[in-house]
Subunit: 430 residues, 2 copies
Amino acid sequence: MSAAVQVIDAEIDVREAMRAIGAETRAAARILALATAEQKNQALNAAARLIRERSIDILAANARDLADGKAKGLGAALLDRLMLNPVRIEQMARGVEEVAELPDPVGRVLAAFTRPNGLSIERVTTPLGVVGVIYESRPNVTADAGALCLKSGNAAVLRGGSDSFHSSAAIHARLAAGLKEAGLPEAAISRAPFSSREAVGEMLEGLGGALDVIVPRGGKNLVERVQREARVPVFAHLEGVVHVYVDRAADLDKAVKILVNSKMRRTGVCGAAETLLVHRDAAPAMLQPLVEALIVEGCAVRGDAETCEADPRVTAATEEDWRTEYLDAIISARVVDSVDAAIQHIEAFGSHHTDCIVTEDKATAEKFLKEVDSAIVLHNASTQFADGGEFGFGAEIGIATGRMHARGPIGLEQLCIFKYRVRGDSQTRG
Amino acid sequence: MSAAVQVIDAEIDVREAMRAIGAETRAAARILALATAEQKNQALNAAARLIRERSIDILAANARDLADGKAKGLGAALLDRLMLNPVRIEQMARGVEEVAELPDPVGRVLAAFTRPNGLSIERVTTPLGVVGVIYESRPNVTADAGALCLKSGNAAVLRGGSDSFHSSAAIHARLAAGLKEAGLPEAAISRAPFSSREAVGEMLEGLGGALDVIVPRGGKNLVERVQREARVPVFAHLEGVVHVYVDRAADLDKAVKILVNSKMRRTGVCGAAETLLVHRDAAPAMLQPLVEALIVEGCAVRGDAETCEADPRVTAATEEDWRTEYLDAIISARVVDSVDAAIQHIEAFGSHHTDCIVTEDKATAEKFLKEVDSAIVLHNASTQFADGGEFGFGAEIGIATGRMHARGPIGLEQLCIFKYRVRGDSQTRG
């Protein structure tokens, strides 16, 4: 954090300033909610153009953040997350344009019915209102989240991490300028200009009723704090303890292919597999080849007694392993007595995010799809498909494992709610 | 509250006991969520039968509550709400059977699509999980809310008011017995056996993560406390400041009919009109007849200067009137310059519950339907249609004016969420 920012934080009343931002954003939300698809797309395309045109300014701001970060001693991984270059800026601009190309999610008729008294009732989508986005060092979240909110007619209050303070400000300025070009209020995408934790605290309180939902984007500590402290609803998942269950009726080749992709395609994503469950009847033929395939790819395996016996390179798992999201080239593995035991394990230790069964038995697959209570349940497909883009949603602001409003990828549709339009001919109630 | 109950409350740790109930209900929720429609209907029909068969026990319990209430000096209105008789018990039993007759909301495919890689993705409804219901003196809420939760596959923790303590317990016992007859866990409909406020406090905290949503059923004080203190999502409306806007292009006969029904059919319901707005161009011809029609029906009118001028029986409104939900034979009335001014008034003073335009001008009607940000917006129909039954939902657990998950009547469909079922043929992600 630069000295200038620290001074700003100290000098003004963060609480009051954040609430003022909330009120301004709330007022802008009403205008954005009623904007046409054309207006919103104009704003997005203008923002993308301005991000490209002013990329030198954005890179200069980013250089400042990088210098501050180095001075603070940030690690290489954090600095890489923070770093922008011409390719990343082009990706960011293109991402905003791609959101513009998606269908408008507002005003869709979800249901329409006519009552016996002649009343015609429609359930039609509307924006949620104001979305608070709290994120960490990746400055591109400013553009990604801002664009998704704008397209879905939601105003947004963005609060980026202090590490990316100047980069986020520079990107945000182009979103605001895009809104202005389209004749929309700049406050429809607001930014918390404070790097203090107090600003986050105010957002978790809801900015005096201004926020309808909060989306945390970042590591487990951030998500945990938001879920624990937020007084408004949250779209988030704390972790993805994702299972691949290889059934007695599995095809070994398919199982190997799906398991290796689920675990190793990218180990750091929330849809990466963390636990392998193998049916006891399949274990003699399949357990060792499955373990072998993982180890060949560089994955460490921590197993129960039977898995340890199957391959000497497996180390013993503790109960803690069944609850652990490694986000690394490590997997836990265990033999289960039945599909019911697999489901029970998943319910006991999983995180209701994404789980998969590999089997050729349709009835067993349907049982698993029905009984596993996770946002995404797959049959014979990699768990790494747990992604809004892969679902055809175009883009996502996150994946939710809560039980209200929406589960799974939160795309444009999930950023909407509905209201009822009722058309009558002077009906009265008896 | 009887002495016995007070002793119970004092002697055991309410917090611990409530959390144990929460954990037990959560475990039962998983079983109920997977129950077939037939099993759930069997439980509901058995409960209805047992409510009839054991009506003498229920009446005896109710007599105890009534005696306690009289001793405590409860008013006549409260005692009437509390009172059960054979007719009310029959209505209650019939209500449970009617819920059984509704279509099962679980397992419905909301969307199905196939991705270019061949993955078949379905969005399918599932229960929310565990619903906490906090209510006051009406003992029939035990049966109504319990039945709706059960049918939608949701477990429930019911916490009735201390006034109806014994009545609710007697009704709850029949719901539990119905579950048992159908081979379902009795804990799927739990009851907080405490009359203390501490039990409510525990529910507002979510019973250690056991509750997914809370539904308050009762007066404004209860709803306000729940909305303020709940750490879990809430389905509720604090009030219904409902408007009827009579446009310049209104038909006077229709306007009179709709207005009088909206205000006077029942003044104590949340969909009852509280404010009349009249377009300036319509005022000369319509304002007095509209006021006249209300006054003839026994409604007091509090108006702005122009409304006071139109009829000497109108008293002057203050700004507070525009914000007031009278729930009585009183209405506020004002002249507005345009449909935009009407919408602005509604957004400034309304409660996003239900609002109506009366006009023969289609374009103006569509503008109003689009721009008024309320759960229910009507054109040429009484606001008293704001009701799940009138919408064809069969029954409702309440009406929500929040912006997450569902707005408007909360029926069986709205007590569900969804998950994704993905079927593949060993697809992996590149």
